[in-house]
């Protein structure tokens, strides 16, 4: 690069870094460790943490359970409508959260598409933790599936073919070949999806409402505490930043392992 270009690009990179980092730093310096711990002892923060933890873990389990086989099928099979299937599964990724919220209401709400069925079955979803789980799963799902599809696609098909010619069942091939080789990518997607689910706001507040100890997750608690107790809001914000950083490190580590293990495989062949 010519000197001038290099200078301008360097300057713009600095602007980008500062623009992203400064608000996060500002949030952290606005509180002291003592105040942070005190604020996190606040019942509003504690209740929200419990709600978030419970709903995120359940939603995440559902995502892994359904998303892994779905990603495997999409990645390894050619079938008509495959591109459409991928697009549909990735849609929540680009959907505004408010749209997700109103769409979930239109589906599972009392007057929604499945409302009558649910009423007959005596199942009430809105304003419950089930609603939170559905909202979190809906918005976080594509973050996992995208990575999972890519991970399964990058597994060399010859390994699976070899396993099958040696008489392994499809389940055994999946469990002993595809799953271990795709694991780093799956882990990365899993971390991303978990972080995204934990931060879910728009769909949750529209579909599940906000009630402390029941449906008020950490992001909703930030919003509710903004005018009541700013310290608590900031403390929750700092905790969510910390979790996001851990998730990101997880993604980095697993993708590094992934490229290492792949180069190992390559050097072995």
């Amino acid at each position: 690069m010519r000197r001038g270009t290099a200078l301008v690009f360097g300057a713009l990179t600095c602007v980008a870094l500062v623009f992203v980092a400064l608000p996060l730093v500002a949030l952290v310096v606005k509180t002291s460790p003592g105040a942070l711990i005190r604020s996190l002892g606040d019942p509003a923060a504690r209740n929200a943490a419990l709600v978030s933890l419970k709903t995120s873990v359940i939603a995440h389990a559902l995502i892994l359970l359904v998303g892994t086989p779905a990603a495997y099928v999409v990645a390894t099979r050619k079938f008509p409508g495959r591109a459409v299937a991928v697009a549909v599964m990735e849609l929540p990724l680009v959907l505004p959260p408010a749209v997700a919220g109103i769409a979930l209401l239109a589906t599972f709400g009392r007057l929604g598409l499945l409302g009558h069925v649910l009423t007959v079955l005596n199942v009430d979803i809105s304003f419950t933790q089930t609603a939170v789980v559905l909202a979190v799963a809906f918005v976080a799902f594509p973050f996992y599936v995208r990575q999972a599809v890519a991970a399964f696609e990058s597994v060399d098909a010859r390994f699976a073919d070899a396993a099958r010619t040696l008489g392994a069942s499809p389940w055994r091939t999946f469990r002993r070949i595809a799953l271990p080789l795709a694991r780093p990518g799956l882990a990365a997607g899993s971390a991303l999806a978990f972080a995204r689910g934990l931060g879910e706001f728009g769909a949750t507040i529209m579909f599940a409402g906000s009630f402390p100890g029941r449906t008020q997750t950490l992001p909703l608690a930030i919003y509710a505490q903004l005018d009541r107790n700013l310290d608590v809001a900031i403390a929750i914000g700092v905790v969510l930043i910390a979790i996001s950083i851990v998730a990101l490190i997880g993604v980095r580590l697993s993708t590094t392992w992934s490229s290492n293990s792949r180069s190992l495989v390559r050097s072995a062949t």
């Binding site: 001038g4 270009t5 301008v8 209401l105 709400g109 009392r110 007057l111 809105s126 304003f127 507040i205 529209m206 599940a208 409402g209 906000s210 009630f211 402390p212 029941r214 449906t215 008020q216 919003y223 509710a224 903004l226 005018d227 009541r228 700013l230």
Partner: protein
């Protein structure tokens, strides 16, 4: 490089075109009437408490209009708002979805187990009014039926209008705006909190004339008529 330069120039132009419009922070319940009164003004409608918090943290709109006297008076004491004036009154009511899935016909029905009630969160005026009304009526059991504490009155109205909640505490004017989807249960006289709206020029405004004009418009004959049209009382 020149292309990048052009791009930045375009960005700068796009950001600075147009004369600065008057910016008004107003309680959600004022949405329809304010937008009709002054269509070219830039409005930010939200819970009065959230707007007050934003002003306290450095936001400088030109005018602040709240669904209460509490926050305008507080801001005034902090030197952030010029003398606020009362310009409207409202009435707390119970909204019920038109489909009325829980068969609510009186306030008493709200205390039945399993009825899903929504109200504003503590600190949101509509929520605080609802709580004080229930205290006055000694109807704490209704509080046990609250399934969601909404961050502004719009959230309450939306959840009732959608039929997700069985009942919600909101203002008479919200009922008028959503009359296709909701019906109203009036609270007994003694439980009706005095709800006074105040408006004031934000002290840090850079368009004092425009701000004063807007306040005059709202408190003047046209403003009063528009307010009464949608169900407000005027002082």
């Amino acid at each position: 490089m020149t292309r990048l330069g052009c791009l930045m120039l375009i960005c700068l132009c796009a950001c600075s075109t147009g004369t600065p419009r008057l910016e008004v922070f107003a309680a959600s319940s004022l949405t329809d009437v304010f937008e009709d009164l002054a269509p070219s003004t830039h409005f930010e409608f939200a819970g009065s408490d959230d707007l007050a918090a934003q002003i306290e943290h450095g936001a400088t709109p030109d005018v602040y209009a709240a669904a209460t006297t509490t926050y305008p008076d507080e801001l005034h004491d902090e030197g952030l708002l010029d003398d606020p004036v009362a310009f409207a009154t409202n009435e707390l009511v119970v909204l019920v979805p038109r489909s009325n899935p829980a068969g609510i016909s009186s306030l008493k029905d709200l205390a039945r187990p399993g009825v899903r009630v929504v109200m504003g969160a503590p600190g949101v005026p509509a929520g605080d009014y609802a709580r004080s009304a229930l205290e006055e009526l000694r109807a704490k059991d209704i509080l046990d039926n609250v399934v969601s504490e909404e961050d502004d009155v719009k959230g309450v109205v939306a959840k009732v209008a959608l039929g997700e909640a069985d009942a919600g505490f909101a203002y008479r004017t919200d009922a008028a705006a959503a009359s296709d989807d909701v019906t109203v249960i009036t609270l007994p006289q003694r439980a009706r909190p005095r709800i006074v709206y105040e408006i004031g020029v934000v002290t840090g405004t850079d368009d004092r004339d425009g701000a004063t004009q807007f306040v005059d418009l709202v408190t003047g004959a046209r403003g009063r008529a528009a307010l009464q049209d949608v169900g407000f009382g005027v002082p």
